[in-house]
């Protein structure tokens, strides 16, 4: 029997805690940003020490770590870059993700042993461009998000290149790299990590005689998010090497849920157990964790009006994440939870985790840290205990039933 190498599931990690969550819940690799030279300039990002630790954790667990060095450089940004790249080499990161091609030359000229992935910021959309990067020593290309699956397949077939595509998360409305709205509206440099998300704003629209278009709905460039859970089988079958989840600034709960859902779907595919019922459930899970609607966008068809938002940001705070398991007392069958969102006796909830399949149950009597019975868990970080007949693990997640 020939064992198929599974497609890589690549997750974002905004800090070490999220990195561990992503790995625990099934990511094969994580991408992280350093304090310098990385888009998302205003995220927490990783210090060099943290990058070393991240690489060490990844390799200990048989996973990979990629570091974004993906700003579009100005002359002034180059100071310290060579020594930074040498530190990444020493840290044994598995690759760097770049958008400015001069880093390819820099790495070669300085004999730095780092694999290079070309970022989606380069908006690579055709096989000749992929071949260009390949001949220049790039080992993987993250394709632009504007491609149909047939185009992706043709690129893979004609280049034999390792191809990464986005599978889930928010989308730029523009071709990546061709938007500087943020620069011209807010003075914040989009291609150096300062994007102010002007594409999510709303605007009055005027005709070319500057007469306002009379409508209660304002114009926006804003797009719905991307979700390709329904296309997992096709993505694997056309030969994509890595499926990337967007969101270095997302919460632990979001990362855990999205990574775990895609992990299950991928494993189901290779086990031959991925069916419509499972996909419907996975879609439901992903819809619940998202704070925005999602679409398949360009992968299966050309996105039209339904691919966009026209009623403001429509982002709702997600209250599904109820708590984290701190401890499970096997003898007395008591679980200790740190509360994240309101729940009460009688609620139907679930617990899931890296080693815990989804368990659904009705919340029984609940007790506070002093052992007093309480009618509800109202306060974030409050310690709550209740009886649970199923064994769960530390760090498992409790959520509303999906």
């Amino acid at each position: 029997m020939i064992l198929m190498e599974k497609i890589e599931l690549l997750a974002p990690a905004g800090n070490l805690e999220k990195l561990k969550v992503a790995f625990q819940y099934g990511a094969s690799a994580c991408y992280i940003g350093g304090k310098e030279f990385s888009l998302r300039a205003n995220a927490t990002n990783f210090s060099l020490d943290e990058i070393r630790e991240a690489a060490s954790i990844a390799h200990e667990w048989g996973k990979k770590i990629y570091v974004t060095v993906n700003i579009v450089f100005h002359n002034e940004d180059v100071d310290g870059l060579i020594s930074y790249l040498k530190e990444l080499e020493k840290a044994c990161v598995d690759a760097i993700i770049v958008s400015d091609p001069f880093i390819i030359s820099l790495v070669k000229e300085n004999n730095i042993n780092l694999e290079i992935h070309m970022s989606t910021q380069a908006s690579t959309l055709n096989y000749e461009s992929v071949n260009f990067w390949k001949e220049n020593g790039v080992s993987r290309v993250v394709l632009g998000r504007e491609l149909h699956r047939d185009e992706i397949k043709e690129i893979i077939d004609k280049t034999g290149m390792e191809i990464e595509t986005f599978v889930h998360g928010a989308m730029c409305s523009s071709y990546s790299g061709r938007c500087v709205l943020s620069n011209y509206f807010t003075n914040r440099d989009a291609n150096r990590g300062g994007c102010a998300q002007v594409c999510r704003w709303t605007f009055d629209m005027y005709d070319f005689n500057k007469k306002r278009i009379e409508s209660d709905t304002e114009f926006t460039m804003s797009t719905k998010d991307l979700s390709l859970i329904g296309e997992i089988a096709k993505m694997i079958e056309i030969g994509i090497s890595s499926l990337k989840i967007e969101g270095r600034m997302r919460s632990n709960y979001y990362i855990a849920t999205v990574v775990s859902t895609y992990r299950h779907a991928i494993d189901d595919y290779y086990n031959g157990t991925l069916d419509d019922d499972k996909l419907a459930y996975y879609k439901k899970v992903l819809n619940r964790v998202a704070n925005r609607d999602s679409e398949e966008q360009f992968f299966s068809t050309f996105p039209k009006v339904n691919g966009q938002y026209f009623l403001g940001r429509q982002e709702v705070s997600n209250q599904d994440f109820l708590g984290i398991v701190m401890d499970y007392d096997k003898t007395n069958k008591i679980v200790t939870i740190t509360e994240r969102n309101f729940f009460k006796k009688g609620d139907v909830v679930e617990i899931f985790g890296p080693k815990t399949e989804v368990i659904t149950f009705v919340v029984p009597d609940i007790y506070n840290a002093d052992g007093n019975i309480v009618d509800a868990a109202r306060h974030p970080e409050e310690i709550i205990r209740f009886k649970l007949d199923f064994e769960v693990c530390k760090d498992d997640i409790m959520r509303v039933k999906i």
Binding site: R40, A41, N42, A43, V72, F73, H74, N75, I97, S99, D100, P101, F102, T120, A122, S123, L125, N126, Y127, E128, F132, N136, E151, E154, I155, F166, C172, S173, Y175, G177, R178, C179, V180, L181, N183, R188, D189, A190, N191, R192, G194, C195, C199, W201, F203, M205, Y206, D207, F208, I213, S215, T217, F219, M221, T223, E246, M249, K304, G307, F310
Partner: protein, 278 residues
């Protein structure tokens, strides 16, 4: 001293503009370019080539998909035969094809927002690229540093609306469909504070432009070592007058200079950013 290159936006402007003291003209190729009202085919280029000894520069600034590649190969081959003077391009497939087909075209990398440093340009020059159309998102000092550190051809926009957003989506059509109104043409504005930004849709998607044309007419002395100053006629009523002003170096008050004297920032104290870059 810089020479002027004028990007032609109306067919009937060509003869008149060629009479002025300019270095040459830029033409957008039909099917492989965006951001113009006037596109040429190979016959047009041959005709225009016969008319003038001034530089003939072809712009191929579209995002290239697999389905464009056959046409791109054919067009590059014919442009090489015609011996156009320079080819502006966005997508690196152009370099790849020219190498594979052994074409001798003088390629100018024109990536709008990505040509922002000495080093980035050097990468492309090592690939045999002849010159670089530098992004207008950088300051005068950054531009002059690039100039000082390169012996290749450097171009820079002296006048014109700058594209600041390009989406594959039909954003105007989608909006009108959503509000259930009829779209009347492809040219609109969006308003931010008191500024109106042109937004234009074509079969290749939607482009938003700066609130007014960048105009560096007062900076021509500063720009004297830049090889070519580009004047783009897109969305401009009478580009002939603009070109004449540049030829005669007539200074203007109150012109918009974009980032020429302003540095962009990218580290801010607060963040709430969840968007889709990796």
């Amino acid at each position: 001293m810089s020479k002027l290159l004028v990007k032609i936006d109306k067919k009937d402007e060509i003869d008149k503009i060629l009479q002025l003291d300019i270095g040459g003209i830029i033409l957008s190729y039909d099917g492989l370019s965006v951001g113009s009202n006037f596109y040429v085919n190979m016959d047009d280029i041959r005709e225009i080539r016969k008319k003038t000894d001034k530089l003939l520069v072809i712009s191929l600034n579209k995002m290239i998909h697999n389905s464009d590649l056959d046409m791109l190969r054919d067009v590059l081959r014919q442009l090489d035969e015609i011996k156009v003077d320079m080819v502006l391009f966005y997508d690196v497939s152009v370099i790849q094809i020219c190498k594979k087909m052994n074409l001798g075209l003088s390629l100018i990398i024109d990536q709008e927002h990505l040509n922002t440093s000495i080093n980035s340009n050097e990468f492309y020059f090592k690939q045999g690229v002849y010159g670089s159309f530098i992004s207008s998102d950088i300051t005068k000092d950054e531009l002059l540093d690039i100039r000082k550190n390169s012996d290749k051809i450097i171009m820079f926009t002296g006048y014109g609306y700058l594209p600041i957003f390009y989406s594959r989506r039909y954003l105007i059509s989608n909006y009108f469909e959503y509000i259930n109104m009829k779209k009347d043409g492809d040219y609109y504005y969006i308003r931010n504070n008191d500024d109106y930004y042109p937004i234009v849709e074509s079969c290749y998607g939607t482009i938003i432009y700066t609130k007014e044309p960048v105009n560096l007419i007062n900076e021509m002395d500063v720009l004297r070592d830049i090889d070519y100053i580009v004047i783009d006629g897109f969305l401009v009523d009478d580009i002939y007058d603009v070109v004449k002003d540049f030829v005669l170096k007539r200074k203007k008050d109150g012109v918009y200079k974009g980032f020429f004297n302003t540095k962009s920032i990218y580290k801010v104290k607060k963040s709430g950013d969840i968007n889709g870059k990796n």
